[in-house]
Amino acid sequence: MATDTLVTPARTAKAGPPAWRRLFGSWDAVLILALLVVVLVASATIEGVGSPRFYRFVALEAIPIALIALPMTLVIITGEIDLSVASTVGLTCSVLGQLWYLGVTSLPLLILLSLLLGAVLGAVNGVFITVFGLPSLAVTIGTLALYRGLAYVVLGDRAIADYPPTWTQNAVAPIPGTVIPWFVLVLAALAVVFGVLLYATPIGRSLYAIGNNAEASNFAGISVLRTKFWLFVATGAMAALAGVFWTFRFASARADNATGLELAVVAAVLLGGVSIFGGRGGLVGVIAAVALLGILRNALQLADVPANALTIVTGTLLILSVVGPNLVRMARERLRRRRPATTLERKPS
């Protein structure tokens, strides 16, 4: 007869896993490690990677993606998605350009109107999703087309490019004494705001609750629909901010600005470990993923990898991002669960 003194050492180890294993068991750690490896390997093998100019370029490219990825992370955590963000960028650029063209010359006013427009576009998404109860995937595919179409209505195929040089230069100006664009500081400040919101406020707590179980959240007194509505408004406003940056960085407002950017954003959020089903993930991984994707893409470009191959790499990473965190989780479960110590005969059937 089995006695309870016959325990194997694995079972008597009551302490949690050691710190290194906890770290490597997390997707965030996998990403940060991958980031380091890519940086080291690419700097050693590809000419031009690792130079200050390289990072400056990566940063400028990553800023709009990161700006939108911040609210998108929150949206996807609640189990929704917003695919209209790139079109929101496009429409904001177009309206901003047209306003300038029509004689609005105050920069603060232009920025304010752009942000307001973005918020309204987000609110339109929010109304369809929360008031009419439509799925966000369908609604935002619709507004993806709609907002882009409106952008063409506003600007046609014109490009508005004659902004004061100080505006366009200031948009990409470095922090004095460095090569880092000062806008990275704006991004960092916003990342802190969103990080605190997600990790250390009652609202952040509700977001995870909603993403995992909207019904129980409702029973706990969380206004599920209202919360989601404001998330879409915030996403619209952040996309608009990205649009303002985009216009001045390229000194060009066109209706097709940022076409396809939503894929880069969603790819970064998912690669960052946020579950497409909601309820799981966080901002640390997402920020690491934005950096990883940006560095990888630019390094490969410098290595003269053709554009098609770049698309394949991004696509592969996207698939990996959906599978990866699950694999890590499964591996952890496997570690926790011990295999049966005695193999039993299967009953002949």
Partner: protein
């Protein structure tokens, strides 16, 4: 005689938690066998090993004396073991009949599913149990008790040699329990073995011939029911004596706290009016499906209602707005803890503090461990058995999950506490602690509205018993006149009981 099904020296760990250590069990054909133990003692884990959901770490499962390894629940089912799990596992978008015949639907020509035959056999099963549920309706939206009845029908449909029931009665009232037991007895008399888990000892003693007691994952004792007393079993289970079960203190009822006037939701309940005073515990009794939970949900605002009004401390409450209800001092411990009471993937800590996330924040920020301290305090008060408070509630035993739901709402210090099956799945020791807490809250002036299917709980705790029958309030019985007879009389819709 060989036992049909037996466990020998089974160990099972989840990470650092040893759920079973040297668990044993012998089930014979033709016996009803009770398995009792405190919350987290390992009963459900043992059931899941019998059912092939988990494999044992060590030890063996014996079927007719032969060791077997069930690779999946399908293996166990093929071996003639039918299981009713503690938590219903229905597919919400399938119909009730489809759920019952999942994976073995009756077929007609061309391998098409014979929906008519399926419906008919479902109706036969429901008739045996005296259940009235439409076989064609989707499982989504069924009350927890109805879900439980569907699970029972599903298990019965297997004609199994071994029927395992993990707290099947926790959400059922006396009438349904009697019917279930009648069916179980006839199965037993036809040679089936029945394993029955419950925290209600009157049920154990009325159905079972033998009892196995578990504590901390270990087998403690197995004995004939004739050699046992309730007190003896409890002492073996808990390892100490348990004080009186229902210590409701007498209180002087204060002002009217909750006033419900003509509340109506078509198809659910009709013209329900009552009041609850501060210091009062009012029980809402009735059969499964009488509309009790629906009334509580409508008051709290998670469901809409068509007519009527709710007042809290004299002020009208905005309908359909749980945040407003919480602000007004209401709390609702819902019936379905897995869907409504808890976010299963989140930790004990997060769940226990969710309704107070704003109250615990300073300047809108949740720094400094306020949540952790509060959760730790309540987990201790309610004796939640968990490795860490940062573990997801999905890893807790059923009774311990219920304790987390209680902690979540009791900690809001409500002025009106509505509590739907407060002790569903909770063991004796904690049950008396919960009752003591409710009683204490009442004495502090809280108005308590308690929906309960457990008659001893209703009679022991309530100052007044409101009885519902088919969506209507049919009786309001003061404590000194409330007894089993008067409550059941009204609950089954017989005239003359209304006061």
């Amino acid at each position: 005689m060989l036992p049909v099904l037996a466990l020998e020296g089974v160990d099972k760990s989840f990470g650092a938690v040893a759920a079973l250590r040297d668990a044993r069990l012998e089930l014979y054909a033709g016996e009803a066998h009770a398995l009792v133990g405190e919350n987290g003692a390992g009963k459900s884990t043992l059931v899941k090993i019998l059912a092939g959901v988990h494999g044992p770490d060590t030890g063996s499962v014996l079927l007719d004396g032969q060791p077997v390894a069930f690779g999946s629940p399908a293996d166990a089912r093929a071996a003639g073991i039918a299981v009713i799990y503690q938590e219903p596992t229905l597919f919400p978008d399938l119909s009730v009949a489809e759920n019952i015949f999942m994976g073995r639907q009756p077929l007609k020509g061309l391998r098409r599913i014979d929906a008519a035959a399926m419906r008919e056999r479902t109706n036969e099963l429901f008739a045996r149990l005296g259940v009235r549920i439409d076989p064609d309706r989707p499982a989504r939206g069924l009350s927890i008790a109805d879900q439980q009845l569907v699970e029972i029908a599903k298990a019965l449909s297997f004609d199994a040699r071994v029927l395992v029931m993990d707290e099947p009665t926790a959400a059922l009232s006396g009438v349904e329990v009697d019917r279930l037991f009648a069916v179980a007895r006839s199965l037993r008399d036809n040679g089936a073995a029945i394993l029955f888990i419950s925290h209600r000892f009157d049920e154990v003693f009325s159905l079972c011939q033998r009892v196995t007691v578990m504590r901390d994952g270990r087998w403690i004792a197995t004995d004939e029911i004739g050699n046992l007393t309730v007190d003896g079993v409890v002492r073996t289970m808990v390892g100490r004596d348990i004080s009186a079960l229902f210590p409701k203190m007498a209180t002087e009822p204060g002002e009217v706290r909750l006033q419900v006037d003509g509340l109506t939701r078509h198809g659910y309940f009709d013209d329900v009016s009552f009041t609850v005073r501060g210091g009062e515990i009012v029980a809402l009794a009735g059969l499964v499906g009488a509309g009790r939970s629906e009334v509580a949900r409508a008051i709290f605002g998670v469901d809409r209602y068509d007519a009527g009004q709710v007042r809290v401390d004299g002020r009208p409450l905005r309908p359909g707005a749980p945040p407003a209800a919480i602000d007004a001092g209401l709390a609702l411990v819902p019936e379905d803890r897995r869907q409504q009471g808890l976010v299963m993937e989140l930790s004990i800590e997060r769940n226990a503090t969710l309704p107070r996330r704003w109250a615990l924040s300073r300047l809108g920020l949740l720094f400094g461990g306020g949540e952790r301290r509060s959760a730790a305090e309540w987990a201790k008060r309610l004796q939640v058995k968990a490795a860490r408070n940062t573990d997801p509630v999905s890893t807790l035993s059923g009774g311990n999950q219920q304790k987390v739901v209680l902690a979540k709402w009791l900690s809001t210090a409500p002025r009106v506490l509505m509590i739907d099956e407060p002790t569903r799945g909770i063991d004796v020791g904690t049950k008396s602690e919960v009752h003591r807490l409710l009683s204490q809250l009442a004495s502090e002036g809280v108005a308590v509205l308690m929906v309960s299917s457990e008659l001893p709980e209703v009679l022991g705790m309530a100052d007044r018993v409101l009885v519902m029958h088919e969506g209507r309030l049919v009786a309001d019985i003061p404590r000194d006149q409330a007894d089993e007879e008067s409550v059941m009389f009204a609950a089954t819709g017989q005239r003359g009981a209304a006061a």
